[in-house]
Amino acid sequence: MSELKPYVHLQDQDLTDPSHAADASLTDKEYEMAVSILGRTPNKLELGIIGSMWSEHCSYKSSRAHLARLPTEGPHVLQGPGENAGIVDIGDNWGVCFKVESHNHPSFIEPFQGAATGVGGILRDVFTMGARPVAAMNLLRFGEEKHAKTAHLMKGVVAGIGHYGNCFGVPTVVSNVAFDSSYNGNILVNAFAAGVVKHDGIFLGVAEGVGNPVFYVGAKTGRDGIHGATMASDVFDEDSEQKRPTVQVGDPFKEKLLLEACLETFKENLLVGIQDMGAAGLTSSSFEMASRAGGGISLDLDKVPMRETGMTPYEIMLSESQERMLLVAEEGAEQRLKEIYGKWDLDCIQIGRVTDDGCVRLNWHGEEWGVLPARALADEAPKYHRPYEAPKSALRLAEEDHRLFLQKKPDDVVDDLVGSGTLASKKWVTSQYDHTIGAGTRIGPGQAGAALVEVPQCGKTIAVAIEADGRKGLANPRECGRRAVANGVLRLAATGARALGLSDCLNYGSPENPRIMWQMVEGIDGIADAGKALEVPVVSGNVSLYNETDGTAVLPTPTVATVGVHEDPDQAVGFHQMQPNDVLVLAGWSATEVEGSEAIHASLKTNVGHVKDWDLGDVATLSDWTRAAVKSDKVHAAAVVEQGGLSFAALRLALASQTGVHLHLPEHLIPENGDGLHGVLFGEDKPSVLLAVSKEHVAELRSSASALPLEVIGQVSTDENFSVHAGQDRVVQKPLKELQQLFDRTIPEVVA
């Protein structure tokens, strides 16, 4: 912060030189736009605020035009995008409030604190809406398993997430972790939280009621995280680690106190509105709250509780110190608010009032240091229709790679899958998260593709899953978005749960590159297609751009968190409860092609090639049938056929249930396109679900399936092997114990 010059007052400034714009990460055009909105040149304080509010991170200026195409409405939606988090109705006057958000840039620079504060931020987004957090998840993407930085980053990120979530006291029930060289210089840390709230207990971030007092509650403001939002809106280069001081430091204990204090105030009709001070801190919270209410706020910045001496208005407005909230209270609530926050050892200070002039006014010891229009900064930021362009030729699997893969013995491909970082057991990760606190985790990490958390306070069982398969996005970014939604819906269905809503977190490189912009536009359209076809609206989300270093962008990674309910949790199934005499039934359409599948990368570390579109009507049929089948109590275990294909789905069941599996592939399932056995075992070009059921229920299930293909393709075995027969030939035979060891030791070796 050595660059900061002494402040200039409105009356005696001379900042007509647009080179000041660069200090605030504004382009010359954006600077001119700001000048024209204000009708004068901004001073340094105002310029810093405009720069943060109009950063990509806060304004979504490159994505807003496209995000408008996402489906955001539906019979279950109680709160769509635009608030701190979205809410869907789960019945009996209860809603589930949730959001997924990125903390990629800070986590690369300082993995422990970066990831920890990512968790803290998303938890606040949820409880600021009035909801007590009941489940957390994350999606993490690291560089290659053997890359020099991967172990350090992974250890720091996982420990940071655990530290924050465990101390706060929320069960972290899913961790989706994958590796790819494109993330070597830009890891992804996407954190999700969900909470439950009564319909009449929802709070919004609005500054309504002229004259109402504005309170600052929570931790004190320090100099940490200043310019965090602009840092997160920039590409990295070799000097990026010098940005360490812009990473915030989290205090999960303080956040736990803040949660309990906020929930107490919610019960007492003291508040008009509340908002977390997240990215761009006091700036974004005050401008957004004023803008939503169509009014203004006047703030006395000298009253803000400060952790350090000598802080300036500029630092106060742009600090991203954690565990702070901005409250708009009813007149007369001050005494009671102070009692509640005092009980929890937290500051609660009136720092301003709601006004009706549409401006945020910033005062410092009685003098006005800045005046900016709330709506223009919060909702009328620059909006770019950046050019986008598809690659001239479609990405295909190289012929040589295709041939090499088909030459591999299926036994060896199975080893490659189980021993790949992306598909190996994540127990090293999830054992660092408290996933049983809350006494409600019905299905936890590694037990299914989704997790189920029963919430005693409302008697509902929440189902959650999180997914993004960036390798599919390189050739077909639209299908990548569609699959993220489809897989989420199917994963929930495979436990017996129904998906009700989505939250998305779009991770891409620089939008100023038309190819990257194309990936994002396609990804959004993919989520939109599948969201509409499967009737799951997007109710919250976040966009993280500029995830690139020295010109290398991350794989297009449209993270989708799927949230729903399980109406009959006693019938829920995961991977882990196959019974000795079960047969394995493949419901849906068996795969035919290896191109586009994870196995290609697991075996050859190469591009997977083109990815075929799934028929979303088929996905809807499959998920509806699967959910009904599971709820009918005829299914003991189920796994969606996704990364690693049918073979890996069967292995998940075998490993989790600790029992051998024999697959017998009927001749007619072996495709005649040349990919043969490899196609059906490792392909992912069609949607299907593998179910373990009692033999006597097969006929009944078959009759309920009508048009949906249903094929008995194997059985549980007692010989503790994983084996596959195609016709008369035995094509795979692996001792389960050997596979279990490989499955378990891969990640510990990555971090060793």
């Binding site: 420990a159 465990n166 006291g169 999960p252 054992s431 660092q432 996933h435 049983t436 606190i437 985790t441």
Partner: protein, 228 residues
């Protein structure tokens, strides 16, 4: 006849413990705030739940041990009243001197969340009467500092007096728990003048309902609500 559940700032397992004691065990419960100086008159037993009291700052349980309510808890225990400390509650009981030894950081340095096999050892004690002798049970664990440590003399005395309540089944070549490195695989110990204080790292309240995979924790929590 009431179970007093102590609540410190950061007692994350307070709500779970309250839920199980009230709705599963069927006990009468009362929340006791850390700033209170006295226990309710009809307190029959005390439950110090898990969590991160004071964010584990300074040392797990160290700050909680110095809060006003702890003088009353100590007095209650020293007069023979039943006190159960789970996870962070165990750490608090050690810090306040009601139980010997200390919980050090896990030997591998990582937080450990899992469901582990335990042997119920001290079954002659009132607290443990819901279990068969050397019954093997499964309970969830979730801690960063669960590595039980005490001097050789104390460990020997605990073993000689049969004050080890629970032991991790999985042990390394030195007999320490593989989960966290704890001496002799100790997961829980008994103390107090009348063998009336129990501290344990595993969470009985997270496995007291069949919907959560088992009820191995329930016999223990039931005895907390009964007379010794």
């Amino acid at each position: 006849m009431t179970v007093a559940i102590i609540r410190f700032p950061g007692s994350n397992c307070f709500r779970d413990s309250l839920h199980v004691m009230q709705n599963v065990v069927g006990a009468k419960t009362v929340e006791v705030w850390h700033q209170d100086v006295a226990l309710p008159a009809d307190t029959q037993s005390i439950f110090i739940p898990g969590g991160f009291s004071y964010g584990d700052y300074l040392r797990c349980g160290a700050m909680a041990a110095h809060q006003p309510i702890m003088a009353a808890v100590k007095d209650f225990a020293e007069k023979g009243g039943k006190v159960l400390g789970v996870c962070n509650g165990f750490q608090v009981l050690c810090e306040v001197g009601l139980l010997p030894g200390a919980l050090m950081p896990n030997h591998h340095g990582l937080f450990a969340c899992d469901v582990v096999g335990l042997e119920a050892v001290g079954t002659s004690d009132g607290f443990m009467r819901g279990y068969e002798t050397q019954e093997q049970i499964q309970l969830p664990v979730a801690h960063h500092d669960g590595n039980y440590f005490a001097s050789e003399e104390i460990i020997q005395a605990l073993e000689a007096d049969k004050r080890v309540a629970f032991r991790y089944i999985a042990k390394d070549a030195d007999g320490h728990g593989t989960l966290n490195g704890s001496r002799n695989g100790i997961a829980g110990i008994i103390g107090g003048p009348n063998r009336n204080v129990l501290g344990m790292m595993p969470h009985p309240e997270r496995r007291s309902e069949s919907r959560l995979g088992g009820q191995d924790g329930l016999p223990l929590l039931k005895t907390l609500a009964e007379n010794l």
